[in-house]
Every structure is written in C-alpha cells, then in structure tokens.
C-alpha cells in the first residue's frame, strides 16, 4: 500500500507548500502567542505534529491491538452486518446505467 499516491497529486501539493513557505516571509502573520512568530511556525507544527501523531499511534497499536473477536460475542466487531439492513449492489455493465441514474432494482 505504501507509495501508491500518484505523482500528479504530489506535485501540486509540493508546489503549494513551497508557495506557502515563501508567503510566510511576505505576509505579516500578526503573531501574538510566544513562539508563533518563528519562521514557518505553522508549517513546522503541521509537519511535525502529523508525523509524531502517526508514529505515536503506531507504537500505541503494539500495546493495545487484539484480535477482532476479542470482545465477541458481546460486540459487533467480528459480526457480519445483517443483510436485511443493506442493499448491496455491484456495478456491472448491465446495471451501470440504472445505478448511475439513481434507481435501484
């Protein structure tokens, strides 16, 4: 699953980030929290916070992960959702038109 983000998404994002970084020096941010005036404060915060949250959560998972049926039968985690409450429908060539049109069989 890693690395399947297409380049056509990454490129505009990278350009946006560069532009935002440059704008940081051109627009007065009116900082009034101590430290907020540090160059690219928000960019650094965003990047570091996100990274640390994800890596922290990864460590947390090692501590608390259990099999899906750990609470069974007193929980829904390992149960199949009852069919009566669903209307499963796959798109095939035959029903493509009708499903896009909104009608359900």
């Amino acid at each position: 699953m890693a690395g399947n983000i297409p380049n056509k998404v990454i490129k505009p994002l990278a350009i946006t980030c560069v532009v935002l970084f440059v704008l940081d020096f051109l627009i007065d941010r009116h900082p009034h929290v101590p430290g907020e005036g540090f160059p690219a404060f928000y960019a650094i915060c965003g990047f570091l916070a996100f990274t640390l949250i994800v890596l922290g959560a990864k460590q947390l998972r090692r501590l608390i992960k259990q099999p899906e049926d750990w609470y069974a039968p007193h929980a829904v985690d390992a149960e199949v959702y009852p069919e009566s409450g669903l209307e499963k429908l796959e798109v095939t060539e035959a029903n493509k038109a009708s499903s896009i049109g909104g009608r359900t069989p």
Binding site: A2, R29, H30, F50, R61, Q66, P82
Partner: protein, 562 residues
C-alpha cells in the same frame, strides 16, 4: 404544555408513527423536523410553556439565543437524517428517531433541571433502540452497555438536582458552577454524556454498533445536548479547559489505528467535542460563540461523514478500512461528499470548520491560554490525519479493493449533497452562521494571516502524510480491535467477578460455621451449669443468700463514697 411546542410535536408524531403505513412514516420523518423548526422559530425570547407540578414550576420552553441555535441545528440534523433514512421500513428505528430528536430538542429548551432530567433520560431510552435495531447478539449487548451508562448519567443528574434544590431551594437551570456536591454530581452527569476522558467509551462502543442510518441520528444529538448543558451551567469553569484539551488530543491516536471507519468517526467526534468543551471552559463571549458555532458546523460535517461511510456500508456490507479502497470509481458522488465533509472537519478555508474552530483558538490565545492553544493546534493537525485523510483516502482511494459498489441510493445522495452544500455555504458566507450565535460577533475569519497559517498547517501535514506513505512508515489498516479504557468493565471486572464471588462465599461460609460453633459452645455451657445437681440448679441456704446480699450492698456503699 402546548401540543405545538417543539418536543411535543416530535413525541406526538412518535406515538402515531407506528400506526401509519410505511411511506407515511418516512414522510413523517421529514415533515416533523420542518414543523418543529417552525415551532422553534415562533417563540419569542423568554420562558414559555410553564407547568406547575406538585409545587414545582416547570419551564418546558426557555427561548434565548443559546437555546435557539441548538434547537435549530437539531431540527436541521433531524430532517437530514430523515431524508437519508427514506428507505428504512423498520418501525422501531423510525419511532426511536422521532422520540430521540424530540427529547434532545426538549433538553436544550428545558428551563429547569427537572424538565432537563426528563428529556435527559428520554434521549437515553429512545436512542438505544437505534442500536438494538441492528438485531444481532453483539448489538444487543452493546446497546445494554450503552443504556446502563446513559441511565447512570441520568441518575447522577437526578441526585445532583435534589442536592442542589436542598441547598438553594431552586430548580432553575441557569449558571451553576462547581460550588457544591450537588453541582458536582450534575457536572459528572453532563460529563458522561459529553464523553469526558475515561467517561468516553460508551461513544466509541455504541455508535459503530448502530444501524446504517441510526449512527447518523446518534451522532447529532446526545453529545451536543451535553455541550449545550455545560455551556448553560458551567461556562467559565476552568477545569473544563484542561478536560477539553485532553479530549482533543487522546482520541486522535486511537482514531489513527482504528480499522472500523465508523469508530474512527466516533473517536473524531470525541476530539471535536474537546474543542467545544475548551470553549465552554474559557467562558468569554468569543469562546462561547465558538462553542455554539463549532457545534453547529460539527453536527453537519459529522453527519455528512457518517452518511458517506454509511452509504459505503449500505452498498458493500462493511465499513472497515482494511476491506475498502478505490471506491471513487463507482461511487463518485459519495466520494466527493465525503471529501467535502473531510475538508470541513479539517477546517480548510471555504469550508465550515474554518470559520467556527478559529473562534475557539482565538479565544484561547486572547485569554493567554497558550499551552491549550498549542494543544488545539496539534489536535487540528490530528483531525486532518484521521478524519481529513484516513476516512476518504482508505475508502475511496488507496489500494483498489476490487469492489465496485453502486452509487448510494438517490435519497442518500440528496441528503449528502444538501449537507455538503450547507458545509460549503457556511464556509463561504460565515455571516450566515455568525448571525445565529448567542453573542454579537466581531470576528473576521478570512484575513490573509489566518488563511495563510491554516493552509500552512494543513498542507505541510498533508506533505507529512505523503512522506509517511512513501517511506512505508504509515501504519497499514489491519483487522483488529484496539483496547481502550472500557476493557476495565468489559473484560477485567467480568473476569475477576467469579473469583470475587467465590471469595465472598468462602468468607461467608467460614464466618457462619465459626458463629454457629460459638453459639453451640455457649449453649452447651449453659446446659452444663443448669443441669440437675449443677451449680445453678443447686438448693441455696438462706444464710449464704444473706451473705451474698451483704457483699453486694457493701459494694454499692463503697462505690457511692466516690
């Protein structure tokens, strides 16, 4: 009380709903919130629908700016959920939805604590049927856990209000503050429904267990009624700032590794409540405006996210990230609506979260709560990670699961598109929301500095996501449950209970045999001394009796000398 007061409209509709044919019932779920909204807007500010019961003056409708904004958004949420649930034919869910929405609106309009208590328990009783409606053993057990905790909250509220009445002689639901045992109990009752840390587990346990449509309904009411109650009773209570800050942070980590996307959204809901609780704790006009505004926006985008994940569940039978991916190809409209919900909760400019969350952050920095302000900033990046990226990315993009579910039914798409429109409309025209807030608003959300800083925060967080995915550091979605604090009452106490019961029984039986042994010995002793010829049964001469009486009298005389 007038039959046309908002909660009564819902309750009467709930009562007759079961007697109507299926189509009518579905229509009722749309018509009643509309009628309820008209009723809400028809009340002038002040106390209405006063009823005197055994000496207590109950106020069923207290209309002011704070109550009104919550009653309005509850009505809108009920209508949108009604449209989303147009296909549902299950009477139980339809009746429960009407009764639940009515009770929640009754709760925010309640002018006294007894009325509040009635609606408070009403929401608990009505909403549990949305979980039981799934009709599986797991959902039954989950619903029972949910009900016990919700009723416990009501019992605490009742105990608190009795103590408070004893202390002050008043049942009015005005500012209470943490000043006595009574107000502390009421605070805890509100805290349970508001999912304070360590009181939060019912939320993540129950919401993913409800039906496809039930979760959308559940997400709107209970917790926001609690936020309203805190704003009414405990504005400016400083401990709420810290409770709120913890609430914004800890659910992020659980949301990040949770596989069931509806539980991810439940953790995310918990995190959003944190922002509102901080706003209540700061207690300035700006921060309370922020809490009300954020509750309003949050109900919309959270409903939208639950709707889009619900539509996926409805079409594929699963809401687990590990089983999904690549669905945008066959569900493009649901995907776009989900992205709008994700952008709104992440507070991108032009979306609703941007104009509401910033009120609370500004209030925190204005009042000098820099540490809390920083926590909220970190939490904002965290919101992006699980609600902004994880929900849409692992459902509609990421690795193709090969599933090609059909687009959501027309009525679900209509509900999602209307909700998405409202999220964008509020983001683009914030004045529309600001005019509903409890206090006058002097706040410009769209300044160059605010747009720049928010975009920097979010875009560099997105960049971090790309970096983590590319480098393979991002944790994969796997089928698992993650243990939270509820393990205490779901596993540990039940596991310890048999040993505890056996221990108590052992102590009891050994105590019992010791006691009977003592009694038996005493009895045989008495029998021994009083049997024929023994000490007590012997004949005593008058002389020796006189001698004993003289000794006793001498002792009494001696004792009286002192």
């Amino acid at each position: 009380m007038s039959l046309l007061s908002p909660p009564m409209i819902y309750l009467i509709a709930a009562a007759v709903c079961g007697l109507l044919p299926a189509r009518w019932r579905a229509a009722l779920l749309l018509a009643v919130p509309a009628a309820g909204l008209v009723s809400v807007l028809s009340y002038a500010p002040g106390l209405h629908e006063n009823v005197s019961v055994v000496g207590f003056d109950l106020v069923f409708v207290r209309m002011d700016d704070l109550a009104r904004i919550f009653a309005i958004i509850f009505s809108i949420a009920a209508a949108l959920a009604g449209l989303y649930a147009w296909h549902v034919r299950d009477k139980m869910q339809q009746v429960a939805t009407l009764a639940y929405a009515g009770a929640a609106i009754g709760g925010v309009l309640a002018g006294d604590l007894i009325t509040l208590f009635l609606w408070w328990e009403g929401t608990a009783l009505a909403s549990v049927f949305l979980i039981w409606a799934r009709r599986t053993p797991g959902a039954m057990a989950t619903g029972m856990r949910y009900l016990i905790i919700q009723v416990l909250s009501g019992v605490l509220l009742l105990a608190g209000l009795l103590l408070h009445f004893h202390d002050t002689g008043s049942i009015a639901f005005e500012h209470l503050g943490l000043v006595s045992t009574g107000t502390l109990l009421i605070f805890l009752a509100f805290g349970i429904k508001c999912a304070f840390p360590l009181m939060h587990n019912w939320l993540q346990d129950a919401y993913p267990a409800a039906t496809v449509t039930g979760t959308v309904v559940l997400s709107a009411f209970t917790t926001k009624m609690a936020v309203y109650a805190l704003a009414r009773g405990y504005a400016g209570t400083e401990i709420l700032i810290w409770i709120g800050a913890v609430m914004t942070l800890f659910p992020i980590f659980f949301a990040e590794i949770e596989n069931d996307l509806r539980r991810v959204l439940a953790y995310s809901l918990n995190n959003q409540l944190g922002f509102m609780v901080v706003g209540v704790g700061i207690g300035t006009e700006l921060s309370l405006n922020g809490t009300a505004a954020h509750a309003f926006c949050h109900i919309l985008y959270k409903s939208l996210l639950f709707m889009s994940v619900g539509a996926v569940l409805y079409r594929t039978g699963t809401s687990k990230a590990s089983e999904l991916g690549g669905l945008w190809k066959s569900m493009p409209i649901t995907a776009v609506c989900c992205l709008i919900g994700a952008a709104s909760i992440s507070a991108f400019p032009l979306f609703s979260g941007f104009v509401s969350k910033s009120l609370i952050l500004s209030a925190a920095s204005n009042e000098g709560h820099y540490l809390v302000w920083f926590a909220l900033l970190i939490a904002s990046a965290g919101v992006l990670s699980h609600s902004g990226i994880k929900i849409p990315y692992f459902t509609f993009f990421a690795e193709d699961s090969g599933k090609r579910p059909a687009e959501a039914p027309l009525h679900m798409r209509a509900a999602m598109i209307i909700t998405a429109f409202l999220c964008v409309f509020i983001g683009v025209v914030p004045a529309s929301l600001y005019s509903l807030l409890p206090y006058d608003v002097d706040y410009a959300a769209y300044t160059p500095a605010h747009i720049l800083t928010q975009m920097q925060l979010l875009c560099f967080a997105l960049l971090a996501f790309v970096f983590l995915m590319r480098s393979g550091l991002h944790p994969p979605e796997v089928r698992a449950v993650n243990v939270d604090a509820d393990v205490v009452y779901r596993r540990w106490i039940p596991a310890l209970l048999p040993a505890l019961v056996a221990g108590v029984a052992r102590i009891f039986s050994s105590g019992q045999s010791t006691a009977t042994g003592i009694v038996a010995r005493l009895y045989s002793g008495i029998e021994r001394v009083s049997s024929p010829g023994a000490v007590l049964a012997r004949g005593w001469s008058v002389g020796s009796m006189m001698f004993i009486v003289i000794i006793v009298m001498a002792f009494v005389l001696f004792a009286n000398l002192f």
